[in-house]
């Protein structure tokens, strides 16, 4: 039973990460490979707060959101100086490498490769949110807030201006839209969101070390978003659930544990490739707008169920 609850909480963390990445890719058109890193930032910040200050879950969430958001600034401000989308991707990879080394090597704070452990069970108003049902409930509340927040943002005037900037930055600026500023804002918000997922991870697993927040994690999240369908409401959620449930199911099959992770990763990689080559709109069909972006020359090949 405990195993099931672990899967649920980490699955919810994945949904939050996928939603955060979809805000970046689907709404703002920015592909970041650093989502896994902000996931880690949230986990480390929560652990440090629980170790050194208070066991409060809400405090940890707020602190993680702020820390994730602030840490995005030294990454996105230089990255967005260039108008080329290549630059943003590459900067995100470089940034992921830098922060990954900080996790692994800043021993006095992050505990290096050993990581951080032994922190108390998180609390809300002195009620213990222990791993298991209480944490599942807290996670569900959090993920609902995150999804609602993302949808509100995406549908707001702010989200509209961002989507316009994604389509044509110059035209948007001629209408008074400050594209660069909006993009910095969206990157800060999305990074803060990803950090929230890290808090759930830390609360559930009980320790954090650098091995969980690698490029591989970012790749898994990208696979979720691509699988579900970019820029759609259900896409990232469905993608995250599928890619959590499938490996969770696999653990009941007898595979040499040494190979399990590798097979999983290979499967994720294959899913990304097949989906992006054969069905770039993802299994949820996606909203036309993003499919259009991914498949510019095939306007006429619209399928049914495409009402927007």
């Amino acid at each position: 039973m405990a195993y099931f609850e672990t899967v649920v909480v980490l699955g919810i963390a994945s949904i939050i990460l996928a939603v955060s990445l979809d805000l970046l890719i689907g709404v703002a058109g920015l592909f970041s490979a650093a989502v896994g890193v902000f996931y880690g930032v949230g986990a480390y910040v929560a652990s440090l707060i629980w170790l050194h200050w208070t066991s409060d879950l809400v405090v940890a969430l707020i602190a993680a959101f702020i820390a994730g958001g602030l840490l995005a600034i030294p990454f996105v401000v230089p990255a967005l100086r260039s108008k080329k989308d290549v630059t943003f991707v590459v900067a995100s990879l470089a940034f992921a490498s830098i922060v990954g080394e900080v996790f692994a090597s800043w021993n006095s704070v992050t505990g290096g490769y050993t990581g951080l452990y032994g922190f108390p069970i998180a609390t809300v108003f002195n009620i213990q949110i222990s791993p298991g049902l209480p944490l599942v409930i807290a996670s569900v509340i959090l993920v609902v807030i995150v999804i609602a927040g993302k949808e509100l943002l995406a549908r707001s005037a702010w989200g509209l201006d961002l989507r316009a900037t994604r389509d044509d930055e110059r035209a948007a600026s001629s209408l008074g839209v400050r594209g660069s500023w909006l993009r910095i804002q969206v990157a800060v918000v999305a990074s803060g969101m990803a950090a929230l997922a890290g808090v759930l991870y830390a609360a559930q697993v009980g320790y954090v070390d650098p091995s969980s927040f690698t490029l591989g994690e970012s790749e898994l999240i990208a696979a979720m978003v691509v699988l579900g369908g970019l820029g759609s409401f259900y896409g990232p959620v469905v993608g995250a659930i599928l890619l959590t449930a499938i490996p969770a199911g696999l653990t009941f099959v007898t595979i040499d544990p040494a190979y399990l992770g590798l097979i999983e990763q290979t499967a994720f990689g294959l899913i990304i490739v097949i989906i992006i080559v054969v069905r770039p709109e993802g299994i949820m069909g996606g909203l036309g707008r993003v499919r259009a972006r991914l498949r510019p020359l095939e306007i006429s090949r619209r399928r049914g169920g495409d009402s927007v």
Partner: protein, 288 residues
């Protein structure tokens, strides 16, 4: 001071290897618009093919090199045919090509991990010996690395400047429509650039395996350096990406003089962010 110089030499030598991969990446990206992240996978295939033939099965070095070239071209073409060709034909944008290529890299890295293990495979330390010139240590690996980088750079420059195919390739990178207007088959030239870029991964992979050890993680590491160099050098500028890759090697090499070794890569990447602030579109900003 001699320590500093030794570090600088070592850094420059690894920079040469990075430069080979980076120039290959830039060549492909500049001329085909494929953001070929799975170049990191090709790098792994090249390295492991050499390992399997020459180290594991004790065949002569030359046989290993040939096997490595064949294997990398084969995997490169396989990726092209299965993944890129379709996307290029339907004119999909950078983003899709990047995600697809990224997936391929992940697959190759993990399949190799299953075949050879996650840990580095054993290579003889023969290239780690070397000579001491006035206290500055220069390993044979450094020499071979620098030499092959110089030779290949000269060959590439000659090819692009003085052969018909090379001239047309440069035209392709400047203005694809023009090439089409002249009735040249654009796909053929794309494929040529792609194959050339692929082959450039081979020497880097083999020497890297001898000097720094070969493990599946090297794939993403190397390609990250290559794409950073490609962007920081200025997209489309082969010279720029080569120079930045050299600079990356140098900075991460000498960073060890002042900082703990674990920080060296991070410091080199921080330098990249500073460069972005100063020159957002890279060292050799392209007109496009």
């Amino acid at each position: 001071m001699t320590l500093f110089l030794s570090l600088a030499v070592g850094g420059l030598a690894s920079g040469c290897l990075y430069a080979l991969v980076a120039v290959g990446f830039s060549l492909i990206f500049g001329m085909t618009r494929i953001f070929h992240v799975s170049q990191g996978g090709v790098f792994l295939v090249a390295g492991y093919a050499y390992y399997w033939v020459s180290i594991d099965h004790h065949r002569p070095i030359v046989v290993g090199i040939i096997a490595s070239i064949i294997a990398s071209i084969a995997i490169g073409l396989l990726i092209y045919v299965l993944v890129y060709r379709r996307m290029l034909n339907s004119n999909r944008e950078f983003f899709s090509l990047f995600i697809g290529s990224f997936g391929v890299l992940v697959v190759i890295q993990n399949v190799i991990s299953m075949m050879f293990g996650v840990a580095p495979v054993p290579f003889p330390s023969s290239l780690l010996d070397g000579v001491h010139a006035g206290g500055v240590q220069i390993t044979y690996g450094d020499m071979v690395g620098v030499a092959s980088a110089v030779v290949l750079t000269v060959l590439m420059a000659w090819f692009l400047r003085y052969t018909v195919a090379g001239t047309r390739l440069r035209a392709l990178s400047d203005n694809p429509e023009l090439v089409r207007d002249y009735g040249l088959d654009i796909n053929r030239y794309r494929l040529l650039a792609y194959t050339l870029g692929t082959i450039l991964a081979v020497p880097g992979a083999i020497i890297y395996a001898y000097t720094q050890g070969l493990s599946p993680a090297a794939g993403p590491d190397i390609v990250t350096i290559a794409i950073v160099a490609c962007v920081a050098g200025g997209v489309g500028s082969l010279v720029g990406s080569g120079l930045v890759a050299l600079g990356y090697g140098l900075i991460s090499g000498i960073a060890v003089y002042w900082f703990p070794g674990a920080w060296s890569e991070a410091i080199a990447f921080v330098a990249f962010f500073i460069l972005l602030l100063v020159r957002p579109d890279g060292l050799f900003e392209s007109a496009r």
